[in-house]
Symmetry: C2
Subunit: 470 residues, 2 copies
């Protein structure tokens, strides 16, 4: 594998030096240098290890997330970043306190569940009811709007398709809110779902849900895949009664925040890269999103070393953002967009890494129509790491959604997510699941990309870009 | 793979009809027929599915194990076995009630643990102490017998080697009792171990432990592998304080039992095959040992069908035994040997399946020295399923240990255990982990073997075997 990468690197040098109209040759050459150096990076992995060990789980709004911010500021300072600070915001808080489910009749046994984020608790002592299974959320949506689920526990057993690009998630995740909302409309007293995930281990996957306006809020939880299978087998044999006991704690207002560090550029323009600092509470948040923190920090650190060695200061400031409280509703992302609304016109590019640590295999862009060729130039460098060019409809990552909506160009450096949803939002999201060499490939690609984004004259918006007026 | 098996089958026919001095040709031919038929068996898998679904976890001595016995009698009767009965025995009872562990300082976070079977609980509110790590149990045993662990929590972080034959377990499992016993001798207030297992998922592995006579009983629990890694990383950075809170419930005397069904033979001699009916409490006991129940039941059922079709009644009674309370100290095995002590001389052969559902790849025997050639004859049939001949020092399986000690010949039909200790004694031991085709190969091999064991004249003890006088 190493040999193939080495060969690819040399052939790319030839390509890159032959072309690049839009991106100056000195910029692509430095990017190639960063790409090569990044391939053996260990700073990124060490950052993930430190965060997941020294903080561990860090639910948005929790005391643990506050400790993560302290950790993050110290880490950014020790690595040499400038203008290190936390930008705080207020938010409502939810946490799980207790969760238990069991088949009561006819095959008494515990089922492993986890409350979905934002779920209400059950009444004291739990609820019990006969289970009504729907194979898919669509089946439930298509069921008559009568009281046929009155007193029942609705169970949406829809599976998820394993894909490299994670596209199976978009379909499967709808049931996370849909089971409770659609169940409640038909009288259900609680909603269970098969976890949104692709593994077959006894890890329920949590994740945020939202109640529809005006619909009764019923408690809702996810079963691990083997427990969903078990409930399905039981239902194939007999009517089944299940008990569910959830307790949650909520607070109206707590503090969260985004942590920021910078590499100052020659102008007041900004390139934003980063990941989200918070995680779900069950695991230590290694793939989601310690990896994104590590990858973008490793990339920025590599650039800092390049600057220190060469004296080549980037045209634009490289801003590393650790968004807070992503999992619980993109709260840090919204706060960032709000708090920086006056300088969004200066934001030349934004990209978040939030899909684990699998190798980057494709780059989608969202550039001005007259700037799409810059994607070709970038790929001439990145293809040495096995990255192909995708489409010009990139999302950029969850936390740059508000920036994208306000006109900031974005890229998605798409990672191999084949195994990502085996771990996503489970207790099993721990650092042993990350391959340091795969993570280093991400560091390499982010470093090379970020250097080009920070140094390509004219930026990536359509001309004439109405800078500052979005 | 199917083609290879078919080819192997035909070549084995040639071998088998050419040879077999000790085992009559009509017997090996019927065994070959059973082997071929077993390869597509689904009865065995269905038995595992029914047991793990309709009963689920079934800890030795529990109400769930009692339900398993009711289930088992009904299942054996419905499959057509004769003399179906439960042979009860009394035993002390232990169960977990509550377990929690956390790093308190300096990196506060929960650790996933499970109490080891027979552990005492902690005092109300738990214990807390500084962790002292030993890389191996041997390191702890070699530490001076002073009070250096006074007030401390000892942590034995020894790993386990993955092997096909499970031999890594024998080494690794010693720490399950050893950590508490050796820790207590040096003043420790609690003992943690890295789970005895080969996976890297957040499943702690439980399992039985025993306190040494005269040593202070301290609470003891296993961390999942990722949690042991986490504690190790924390200890590499700083002294670490951990809290541990375990609650257990015990009863002096409950009832357990062995469930038995038979295929009557022409004589009063007996061939015993079976598995253990109980499981640990965390999973549904699919690989340990629903598989053994399914494999031996499927094999016996296949023989029953053969008898019904051909009218060929076996020389000896085939006795299917579902031992009770194996995990908590081979209690069913001991009760069986005691309750059947007067007929042990009539026990011609015994074999337990208790190592999951991986394919059988080797047969070890423990035959009289002058009968080892019978192993060669048996393998002439079984090699068509990919089974090689091992040594003549078979253990026969945990529940036949007391029989073997009393002179009963045994075989171990050795299964591929490469993945077995990923699941063993965890919540993740569920039926989705069993490949029905692998299980069918086991059924085929057990059916062919059992038929030969039940019909080989003269049996497998050394001549002159002092039948009935052991």
């Amino acid at each position: 594998m190493k040999k193939i990468v080495a060969l690819a690197l040399s052939s790319s040098f030839a390509l890159a030096s032959a072309a690049s109209e839009g991106i100056p040759t000195d910029v692509t050459e430095a990017a190639e240098e960063l790409l090569r150096a990044g391939m053996t990076d260990r700073v990124g992995f060490q950052v993930v290890e430190d965060l997941t060990t020294e903080v561990g789980p860090r639910l948005g709004g929790s005391e643990a997330e506050a400790r993560a911010r302290v950790w993050a500021e110290a880490k950014l300072r020790s690595l040499g970043f400038e203008n290190v600070r936390t930008e705080t915001f207020s938010m409502p808080y939810w946490e799980r306190a207790y969760e238990y489910a069991a088949i009561e009749h006819p095959f008494p046994q515990e089922l492993l569940v986890t409350a979905l984020g934002n779920s209400v608790g059950t009444p004291e002592g739990g609820v019990r009811g006969q289970v009504v299974e729907f194979e898919t959320l669509t089946d439930l949506i298509n069921a008559p709007l009568d009281n046929s689920l009155e007193g029942k526990i609705v169970f949406v057993n829809e599976g998820m398709v394993r894909t490299q690009d994670g596209s199976g998630y978009g379909v499967a995740v709808r049931k996370r809110s849909g089971a409770a909302n659609e169940g409640a409309k038909r009288g259900a007293i609680a909603a269970l779902i098969r976890s949104v995930g692709t593994d077959s281990h006894r890890f329920p996957h949590t994740g945020g849900m939202r109640y529809e306006e005006g619909v009764t809020k019923i408690p809702t939880a996810a079963l691990s895949a083997p427990d969903a299978d078990q409930l399905e087998r039981a239902l194939n044999r007999s009517p089944v009664t299940v008990s569910l006991d959830l307790a949650v704690r909520t607070l109206d207002k707590v503090t969260s925040g985004n942590v920021i560090g910078e590499i100052p550029g020659q102008t007041d323009e900004i390139v934003v890269i980063g990941g989200h600092l918070d995680s779900w509470d069950l695991g230590t948040g290694a793939v989601d999103d310690g990896a994104g923190i590590g990858i973008t920090t490793g990339a920025a650190k590599l650039i800092m070393e390049h600057i220190n060695t060469t004296g080549e200061k980037p045209l634009r400031t490289i801003r590393l953002v650790y968004w807070g409280s992503e999992e619980v509703g993109l709260l840090g992302a919204r706060a960032y967009a709000q708090q920086h609304k006056d300088e969004l016109g200066k934001h030349v590019m934004a990209a978040e890494s939030d899909f684990g640590a699998g190798r980057i295999w494709k780059m989608d862009t969202r550039f001005g129509d007259d700037k799409v060729e810059l994607g070709v130039d970038i790929i001439r460098v990145l293809d040495a790491a096995g990255v192909a060019l995708g489409n010009n409809q990139a999302t950029g990552g969850p936390d740059v959604t508000p920036l994208r909506a306000l006109g900031v160009p974005v890229v998605t450096l798409r990672q191999n997510g084949w195994d990502y949803f085996d771990l996503h939002h489970t207790a099993d999201d721990t650092i042993d699941k990350i391959d340091p060499d795969d993570l280093a490939q991400n560091v390499a690609v982010y470093a090379a990309f970020t250097w080009m984004a920070a140094n390509t004259p004219g930026g990536f918006r359509a001309d004439p870009a109405a800078v500052g007026t979005e």
